[in-house]
């Protein structure tokens, strides 16, 4: 569980694309250690990040991601502060850049950003790196908590952490199907890159209209036929939420047809190998991409994913904020 070199050279966590395998594995190992460190304790609190300030800056709605980051910070004794676009100066027309530098000037050591525009966290990281803000010594770490249709790296890490718990720590050679609305899914993109980096074989299963341009460049295989793919016996099936709020019509004929062709119903789930895991990043639209009976079955790891999310985010904050080089 322990790697010899401590510092993994992470200043921000903006994407899984470009994350090296040893960095990803160090984060996942740390997440497992965090879980261990908190298991069966009288007091679920670590002093590790005492005096550090973590700000979550959310321009989009979220329950689990925001709560998860907040709990992760609090369990490590960081001060966590939530800023949402409604109820902040964003409503008065403040630019992203000004908001970010205000938070940095107010003493944030890390800013966790969710934004509808792909690339927004990269921009913030770039601005803050150039200016150098925090009154203590300059570096403010930026964590991407979901940017547009681009990436959601901590979701991919928590999915990998869940798979490691169910399937074993080495995911090399494991076969993972990512099913559904890949086009609008930052979860799919982050997972495809991370899982490939960890050596897993990823197959995207989606209608042609819900695959992004440039998918040929991803480290994945692509198919349009869910039933045919399930007969090949994947080790894990990751169902994506159909993102109605990002769709402006015309991606598939009807919700019913989508459910029939790409939904994970009980009949399809029954064709999976016994050990196969079903993941869903949530919030799940039951009856659409996943049947209720499957979502509530023993092979579904949806609640475990949420729990893993806290440990993974603790690991990310630990690597970004605890050591000297990260500052």
């Amino acid at each position: 569980m322990t790697s010899d070199e401590g510092h993994i050279g992470l200043r921000h966590l903006l994407s899984t694309d470009g994350l090296r395998r040893e960095q990803a594995e160090a984060l996942l190992d740390t997440a497992a250690s965090m879980e261990q460190a908190l298991t069966g304790r009288a007091v679920r609190k670590l002093p590790t990040l005492r005096g550090r300030t973590v700000v979550t800056l959310f321009y989009e709605n979220s329950t689990r991601t925001r709560v998860s980051f907040e709990v992760a910070g609090k369990w490590m004794s960081a001060d966590t502060i939530n800023v949402s676009a409604s109820g902040s100066s964003v409503g008065k027309g403040e630019s992203l850049r000004d908001t970010a530098s205000t938070l940095a000037a107010a003493g944030a050591d890390a800013i966790v950003v969710r934004h509808p525009a792909s690339g927004a966290p990269h921009r913030i990281a770039g601005w803050l790196d150039r200016v150098g803000h925090s009154h203590t010594d300059g570096h403010v770490a930026v964590v991407n908590a979901g940017d547009g249709t681009h990436e959601h790296p901590t979701q991919a890490l928590l999915d990998a952490a869940t798979l490691r718990k169910r399937l074993g720590a080495d995911l090399a050679g494991r076969r993972v199907a990512i099913v559904g609305d890949v086009l609008h899914s930052r979860v799919a993109r982050s997972n495809a890159h991370l899982l490939a980096t960890l050596g897993a074989e990823v197959t995207l299963v989606a209608p042609p209209t819900l695959l992004p341009a440039g998918v040929d460049a991803w480290p994945v295989a692509v198919t349009h036929d869910l039933d045919a793919h399930l007969t090949t016996g994947p080790d894990a099936v990751m169902m994506l939420r159909v993102q109605a709020e990002r769709m402006h019509g015309g991606f598939f004929p009807s919700a019913r047809e989508y459910a029939v062709r790409f939904g994970l119903n009980q009949r399809r789930a029954d064709t999976l190998p016994d050990h196969a895991v079903v993941l869903h990043p949530g919030p799940a639209v039951r009856g659409m991409e996943i049947a209720s009976s499957v979502a509530d079955s023993a092979r579904a790891a949806i609640a475990e994913q949420v729990t893993a999310g806290v440990h993974v985010r603790m690991a990310v904050l630990y690597h970004l904020l605890a050591g000297e080089d990260s500052r």
Partner: protein, 194 residues
Amino acid sequence: MPTRRRGGPVPNGASNAEGERELLSSADIARTVARIAHEILEKTADSGAPVVLLGLPTRGVHLAHRLAERVTAIDPDTTVAVGTLDPTLYRDDLRRQPTRPLADTDIPPAGIDDVTVVLVDDVLMSGRTVRAALDALRDHGRPRAVQLAVLVDRGHRELPIRADYVGKNVPTNRGEDVVVSLVESDGADGVAIR
């Protein structure tokens, strides 16, 4: 890290070409572990509380297992639980160095409330690791008593901490390294200074 532990043991010599000097041979370590096991039995006998040996990673964990084995060999009626406590998240020097990797923490399922905990480490120097471990213990429960066993006490304490069981007291210079090797992690037993 106050003590570096790389490199193998020095075979039977006062000093080799690299300036290493042997402090404890493999046989010395076996005798020392046996003696400390006797002392633990003696010192914890009257309290009546169960004993839990908690090793501090990495080599403290190996020593804790060896001690537990010896204690059971000496007195088969004594039950000793063994666990692991990684105090990294409680260290006060995290910000002074690159991010440290974490090691396993594994507290015996029965917990540590009302037991006698013996923390086990290979080398005691500043005492900061032990302080971190004491803080970590407080979050896991409330032992009746906490004791400390170390293979080597090399001095240079920075906190008011002392060991209850010491394998060997070794006066050292700050710049020297005490290198502990154990079969479980290094292939051979030995303690050297360089």
